[in-house]
Amino acid sequence: MADVRQDPRSPIDAAINTPGREGLTGTAPANLYAPSLDREQVTIAPDFAPVEMQPAWRQDFPIDWPQDVYVERRDFMKFMVLTSAAFTLGQLWIAAQNWYRKRSGRPGIQRIAAVDDLDVGHAIGFTYPNPHERCLLVRLTTTDFVAFGQECTHLSCAVIPRPAEGAFYCPCHEGRFDIRTGVPTAGPPRRPLTRIVLEMRERDIYAVDVEERTT
């Protein structure tokens, strides 16, 4: 345990029987009321020893450890408050995107292909509802067609249709989705693929809506 009499922050000498106290009454040292440095401005080594007893490196680079600890915690708190602000901005960005999406309204109706353009077990690509959203139309049987967005719900890589395996395959992280439902069956994706709602009109296939799902 450190000797408190060596701590320069302690202005009172608790011992009465020191040589400098001989003949005096009371316990206060003579310099108690003398102007001195603010105790928080005194650089204190971790072992409380005076500066001249410290190693050379510490004399060359004196650091006030308690102040250093205090400042780094305070600055870390500032950083965390900024991080908190960034997260709130992220939430507001989602809200703004949501407002924009609702404002855009439902997507229009778009012809994809004629029924005869696609053989059973084959797929074709198209864009819907805008030119940047790539989708896949797959013919499962003579009468069954399904369409999904091509972006993997993990990290947006393009999925590849594999009708023979009954799956959409994402080559980036080995993700797999069921070809009939778009539900993830393997790999890191957790959300199903975006489903494109289809409509048959005479011998043509139309995309009429987009369906986002969480499960």
């Binding site: 308690p66 965390m80 908190s84 989602i94 959300r191 986002e212 969480t214």
Partner: protein, 82 residues
């Protein structure tokens, strides 16, 4: 003697206050991170009902953090006599 003036906190006291506030701020920031990922997941999945309540909750967390930070600034100003 009891003085009418308020004594400023010492550095050790302020350090303890900073530790306490840092603990709360960390918990709140972790909560906000979870809230952001959950909201993003729900919104990308087409669930729009959670977007505005989550934004309001995150803004409330930010207000709490900023309030704690302002308190820290205030006790430092008291210390420096500003």
């Amino acid at each position: 003697m009891i003085s009418g003036t308020k004594r400023p906190f010492s550095r050790e006291q302020r350090a303890i206050i900073v530790y306490g506030m840092l603990f709360f701020v960390l918990i709140i920031v972790i909560l906000q991170l979870w809230l952001l990922t959950a909201t993003m997941n729900a919104w990308l999945g087409g669930d729009e009902s959670i977007v505005w309540p989550a934004a309001a909750a995150s803004a409330a967390c930010l207000a709490l953090n900023v309030g704690l930070f302002r308190y820290l600034v205030r006790i430092e100003r008291t210390r420096s006599g500003v």
